[in-house]
Assembly symmetry: C2
Homo-oligomer: 234 residues x 2
DNA sequence: GTAAAGTTAGACGCCATTGTCTAAAACGTC
DNA sequence: GACGTTTTAGACAATGGCGTCTAACTTTAC
């Protein structure tokens, strides 16, 4: 039997690139179909059609449906983790104009990590297939939301140490920051919709406004800032 | 062809009760299996086995798989809406000891509407099959989370009118109250777990504490209340 | 150009599931 | 006990998806 899983090491240039393109095309198509139909509802034929690839090619690259599913989840997880890390590195370091900077950060977080393709995929699939593949999504839980809370907690601790914020429990504050950021988007997140930039901005501003009322220095009242914005329709 | 869908009107006493019991047994079993496996993954045979009923009986009561699914969703939705209404009616009316009363309310809300069987079922199924049955879950969206936000908004408005709270946008505050209440439970909610009473209490207390710091009257500082509680492990 | 590898379309067996049908059994009423 | 209804178990055809196989085709390396 030929070793179909690791032929790339023996290939040169163009073939590898061609194979690689096929693999990515399959992964993207499979993510799309798995996300829409779930594992049981997704058919290899549909994935092949979406990927513009023959069914046999899928079986050549990924031995069976379950292997493909695991590969898709890991691929999306890696992208999502990289994006999360990247966004976390933009957390406002100094406290000038904290409200605006925190708002912009919340927009980035929601837009690139929560409401994007990969975020939707992972949230949906964790709910749908989480019990069937506990080990698979356990790592997501730790590297995704777990890392997010831990990192945010540390960042808020730094701001509290500087005296910019007054926080009792940093972990609680981190979770509440994320929760507040999603408060206005919950329905859209649940239904799988994608918020507009304007909605993202409103949601973030409402969240940060309330967050700072709860955790900002009592004496640091800002003047002239816009009042809380109207609710998002729907 | 016999009219199998409405035989109950012609039946008397015991037979009707027997049929009714079968129907409920089927609905419960189907809810369980649909929730675990999704629509595509659920098999009628498994539902029949869980319900301790023959497969044919299911087809007698509900013409086909999809009819059964719709009936299950409507059944769960009705129960969930009734429970939500019931919990909303316990919203603290007077402002004595507002923090404790709001906390107890948040516990009731999370325990009986969000983290219970029906809540889990609806959240999961809305994500899994929402796109396939938009009309079905549209009504849930309006009667469930929609009603919750609207009702809470009005209740907070009353407290604000009395001067107990200081709120700019009542709808935003309502959504943030719910979001804060779920902040510490997000992971458990996503994974389908059930929090303990202690965890529910902690989560609610953290949420209300922050909520009141943001929306409580600035002069109404409470004395001797416990500080924010430690994070929930996990 | 040739050879090796990857890709494709299609046919195929296999299995699970849906939904129907039938005859027998259980249940409740009279 | 007789009767009508419901329930049951099992057989049944039809469907559709998975995974394999083959023979032809395309791409790439040399």
């Amino acid at each position: 039997m030929k070793d179909r899983m690791t032929p790339a090491v023996r290939m040169t240039g163009h073939t590898q690139r061609g194979q690689c393109a096929k693999r990515m095309s399959i992964l993207d198509a499979a993510a799309d179909v798995f996300c829409r139909q779930g594992f049981a509802g997704a058919s290899i034929d549909e994935i092949a059609a979406v990927a513009c690839v023959s069914r046999q090619t899928i079986y050549n690259h990924y031995r069976e449906k379950e292997t493909l599913f695991v590969a898709v989840v890991e691929d999306v997880m890696n992208r999502a983790n990289a994006m999360l890390f990247s966004v976390l590195s933009t957390f406002p370091a100094n406290a000038d104009n904290l409200e605006d900077e925190l708002t912009a950060f919340a927009v980035r977080l929601n837009k690139n990590c929560i409401c994007n393709h990969d975020g939707k995929f992972l949230r949906k699939l964790v709910q749908t297939e989480g019990e069937r593949y506990p080990h698979l999504f356990e790592s997501w839980r730790q590297q995704g939301p777990g890392k997010l809370t831990t990192a945010l907690s540390a960042l808020f601790a730094r701001l509290a140490h500087k005296g910019t914020l007054v926080i009792g429990d940093f972990d609680v504050a981190a979770r509440q920051f994320v929760a507040l950021g999603n408060a206005d988007l919950q329905m859209m997140i649940l239904l799988g919709g994608t918020p507009t930039d304007e909605e993202l901005e409103k949601a973030a501003r409402n969240a940060v406004h309330t967050f700072l009322k709860a955790y900002g220095r009592p004496d640091a009242e800002k003047a002239g800032h816009p009042r809380q914005l109207a609710a998002i329709s729907g």
